[in-house]
């Protein structure tokens, strides 16, 4: 049975089994490859997308449970080729190394800063508890997010 989804404000139809992890539908069926598959166990956060505005690890969500939900992926952050303010801050802080964790970092932190626009460095670090990075040692990612929080 086709599954009707709303992805990045577009109506999409998946023909995959409803138990297929959402990340596989996004990547393999819709070619939205921003969300990365790293652990498939919900620990690393690299596949984080928004489901009805909340950050969710898309490797653990069966696509059948995302029907009628509004899904947003990292591809939705930039509009008309303009980077979002957080993407721009990441670039300005030269935060990226291999880049595999960044789509998830962006989805988690964009959502967090919406809720906590005046967050402290410690609060930003706590918000990243579900997002692992193996390259950067985190501090510049935190610096980038904090530059927005402190700029207010």
């Amino acid at each position: 049975m086709p599954l009707h989804l709303t992805v990045n404000d577009e109506d999409r139809v998946s023909v995959r089994d409803p138990l297929t992890p959402l990340v596989d539908v996004l990547r393999d069926e819709f070619f939205l490859t921003g969300a990365k598959i790293v652990c498939r166990e919900g620990f690393c956060g690299a596949c984080t997308v928004w489901v009805d505005g909340r950050p969710v690890v898309s490797c653990l969500l069966p696509v059948g449970l995302a029907v009628d939900c509004k899904i947003h992926t990292v591809e939705s952050l930039s509009t008309n080729g303009d980077l979002s303010v957080l993407q721009k801050a990441f670039e300005d802080h030269d935060a990226v190394q291999c880049g595999m964790c960044f789509p998830g970092m962006l989805m988690t932190l964009t959502s967090f800063l919406d809720r906590e626009p005046r967050a402290t460095r410690e609060e930003i670090k706590a918000a990243l508890v579900g997002n692992v990075c193996r390259c950067t040692g985190y501090e510049r990612i935190v610096d980038a997010a904090f530059s927005l929080a402190s700029a207010g």
Binding site: K36, V38, C39, R40, E41, F43, C44, A46, D94, A95, Q97, C98, G99, M100, C101, I124, K125, A126, L128, V129, N131, V132, C133, R134, C135, T136, G137, Y138, E139, R140, I141, V142
Partner: protein
């Protein structure tokens, strides 16, 4: 595209009697199945000991037995499950103590028959490779009446790279040639090793590499590529093969576990007159990188300090465990941990301040290293002084330790740049952009996408954004040794600079005619060529390229680089792949820790790095590498632990049990770059991405020892281990398989690849 899955062994040691794929072949969607019969060749580094698939013997849990390609991943998995094997279990050698015990099970019973690819080392039985250093008379040094003898044992576990992108390859076979697109650091190694395994000319393999999602040394070896290639040929279709995270965990080419015995004779003034060391490196079931890495002990454990005399035995040991591999500052990380902790034990024994001892003894200008190479320039001593200045310029963090035990430590480290051959071509285009063609790969360090464009742009008067970096393609570029060992900016950088200089020369010659000015009076900058001292007098580089294209044809240049070859002292190093280090790199680290005496938790309060970078082409990128490298080292020092059970199976299968650093574990590293040390790198640069991890475990271990007053001999310093240490409940580290007499830890006094020695 087809999807492939490997059938992997589930036992660590067995005779493989039969593999039956007949039922699997008939399963739905199955297009090809390959086994050992399709790839009979052996490969390896230094010694050809490794088959692609288990042949006759299974030597580790996870060893490939067969590979299946099917229309879908699920169909491939189902077919793998339908393959049946017949095995006879054999005894095992899981630990290095097992492997070196009398009557040990031989992981390679027919080791004598292997082809030796690099002559000069001794090897026998479970000792896969032995590299030794003998310089001076340590016997005389240790028997001097005026010396204190200090002995220490150390042990470290494995570390998993956990690069976020797994090892993955896509292969196709068309018109008699293979095309392999893969996630690797070494496109040319993949080309050559795949060809060797398949028994085809290397020119029949083309390897291309897109940007790589993290590597850290994991991807410095051929991995999944030959399987994908075989399946592509057998099925006639493109095949994708990717490791699952679980496969990545239990077949990771980890940083090897190691055991280290160190002994030093030191005068009361702190002069090290003699040093003897035995280092056992677990290579797992096959030699792989560890064969080469035995060489490095001479320069890491044998580094940092002036030694009156030295003897080192560095051995790679076969066990029935997954093969280990290369990992950022391979070999150096644990040998620096052992050396620096041993140094602090020397200081305690002779009653000398830890910092003062280092200031007196670190290698300086004209000092000789353990293999007799002569070092140039005073580098470590001024770096130590810089660290002392940084320390006195800010308050101690002791106050934040509260009721916890506070400790601080400063360590030094010696590393090197693994230079070797690189090639580059630069094409200058009529739009004023340049294309840089190499076999280099961007793995996230910024060397390819930041440093190299800066070098090319600097030579040609362009902006770095005008330099297009071609992704690696062995059909399109010259040979390259690979991205690793801190060599990218140095070797590929030097080749790129040389290629750019050829282009520059041609460009200036044409511009000279156009502007009626001698080329030496012309200046390239900002995309323009100007007459020196007369801004606006010239023209754009694009116009000159257009003119050159009409006169000479398109503007391009090529450049090459290889190692300069630094001499060592003849005869003191045996079984070594390199006798001296071409470009030494030094690091001084300092940290402050608080240790909770009730939980054993170690908190890093502050961390400072003074790093020798030669010349920092892109300081911001270097800072990023230092922060990231230190944090990877903190994981290794404190909580990244891999344990192997009695059945040879790694207990840590994913991120739930393998604990990597998270954002809340880390601190911002205070960084000071030491510039100006001698380097043959372009613009005086040295690689900066590998070395930041070098002395992190050493520094943390020394600081925890200072905090607790107990000697740290094992890492990682997990809370249970630290609690045991504080409570004095840890068992003394002893190595029954390492003789207290150094001579008994070497196979033979003469180098021989063929000599028959019991073992």
């Amino acid at each position: 595209m087809l999807h492939a899955v490997l059938l992997r062994a589930e036992v660590p040691s067995a005779r493989l009697l039969a593999v039956d794929v007949s039922r699997a072949c008939k399963m739905p969607g199955v297009r090809a199945i390959v086994t050992a019969a399709d790839a009979p060749g052996l490969h390896g580094i230094g010694i050809a000991d490794q088959p692609l698939f288990a042949v006759d013997l299974i030597r580790y849990v996870g060893e490939p037995i067969a590979a299946v390609a099917a229309d879908t991943l699920e169909q491939a998995e189902a077919a793998v499950a339908a393959i049946t094997t017949e095995i006879d279990l054999l005894p095992t050698a899981i630990s290095m103590a097992d492997a070196l015990a009398p009557e040990a099970h031989l992981v390679h019973p027919d080791w004598r028959n292997y082809e030796v690819l690099f002559e000069g080392a001794a090897h026998a039985g479970n000792i896969a490779w032995e590299a030794t250093v003998v310089r001076g008379d340590t016997g005389a040094a240790f028997s001097r009446a005026d010396v204190t003898v200090v002995e220490s044992n150390f042990r470290v576990g494995r570390q998993n790279h956990l690069s976020f992108e797994p090892r993955v390859a896509i292969a196709s076979y068309e018109d008699g040639r293979f095309h392999i697109e893969t996630s690797t650091q070494v496109p040319w190694t993949i080309r050559n090793v795949t060809a060797r395994i398949l028994g085809i000319p290397a020119s029949h393999v083309r390897v291309t590499v897109p940007a790589v999602g993290g590597a850290f040394g994991l991807k410095f070896d051929c991995a999944l590529e030959p399987f994908a290639a075989l399946l592509a040929r057998a099925s006639g279709r493109p095949v994708r093969l990717a490791n699952s995270r679980q496969e990545e965990m239990f077949t990771c080419l980890c940083r090897e576990n190691a055991e280290i015995k160190l002994r030093s004779a030191v005068t009361k003034e702190g002069e090290i007159v003699g040093r003897e060391a035995v280092v056992l490196m677990d290579c797992g079931a096959y030699g792989g990188e560890q064969i080469f890495l035995t060489t490095m002990t001479a320069h890491t454990l044998g580094g940092n300090y002036r030694l009156g005399s030295v003897r080192i035995s560095s051995r790679a040991i076969y066990t029935n465990t997954a093969p280990n591999g290369a990992f950022r500052a391979c070999n150096g990380v644990y040998n620096t941990f052992a050396l620096e902790r041993h140094t602090d034990e020397i200081c305690a024994a002779i009653g000398m301040d830890q910092f003062e001892f280092r200031r007196r003894n670190v290698l300086g200008d004209k000092d000789i290293g353990s293999t007799g190479q002569v070092f140039e320039g005073d580098v470590l001593r001024p770096m130590l002084d810089r660290m002392a200045d940084l320390r006195s310029a800010r308050p101690s963090k002791k106050g934040t330790a509260g009721r916890r035990l506070y400790g601080r430590a400063t360590t030094v480290g010696t590393w090197f740049i693994f230079v070797g051959p690189s090639a580059a071509t630069v094409n200058l285009n009529t739009d004023g952009s340049a294309t840089l063609v190499t076999a280099g790969v961007e793995i996230g360090s910024g060397s390819m996408m930041q440093a190299l464009p800066q070098i090319v742009a600097n030579t040609l008067g362009l902006h770095p954004e005008q330099v297009i970096v071609r992704t690696a393609d062995t059909d399109g570029s010259g040979f390259d040794l690979g991205v690793g060992g801190g060599r990218t900016t140095v070797s590929l950088g030097a080749a790129s600079q040389s290629a750019s200089e050829e282009v520059r020369k041609k460009l200036l010659s044409v511009a000279g005619e156009m502007l009626q000015t001698a080329p030496e009076r012309l200046v390239l900058a900002g995309g323009r060529v100007e007459i020196a001292g007369a801004k606006g007098s010239g023209t754009t580089i694009a116009k000159v390229v257009e003119r050159a294209q009409q006169l000479l044809g398109p503007l391009s240049g090529s450049g090459s680089f290889t190692r300069p070859g630094v001499p060592a002292m003849a005869g003191c190093a045996r079984g070594h792949f390199i006798d001296a280090i071409d470009i030494p790199v030094f690091a001084v680290h300092e940290c402050e820790v608080a240790v909770d005496p009730e939980t054993g938790h170690v908190e890093v309060l502050g961390y400072t790095v003074v790093q020798d970078v030669g010349h920092a082409i892109n300081p911001r990128a270097v800072f990023g590498q230092i922060q990231g490298g230190v944090v990877q080292g903190l994981g290794y020092a404190l909580h990244e632990e891999i344990t192997i059970d009695a059945d040879g199976r790694m207990r840590q299968e994913g991120l739930e049990t393998y604990r990597v650093p998270l954002a809340q574990d880390v601190v911002p590293v205070e960084i000071s770059l030491h510039e100006g040390a001698p380097s043959i790198g372009p613009l005086g640069t040295k690689g900066a991405g590998e070395v930041p991890i070098l002395n992190v475990a050493a520094t943390i271990a020394c600081a925890v020892s200072n905090a607790t007053g107990r000697p740290v001999c094992e890492i990682p310093l997990t809370p249970p281990r630290v609690l045991e240490l504080i409570l004095g409940k840890n068992t003394q580290l002893t190595f029954p398989h390492i003789s207290p007499f150094w001579e008994e830890n070497v196979l033979t006094s003469q180098p021989s690849g063929k000599r028959d020695v019991a073992g």
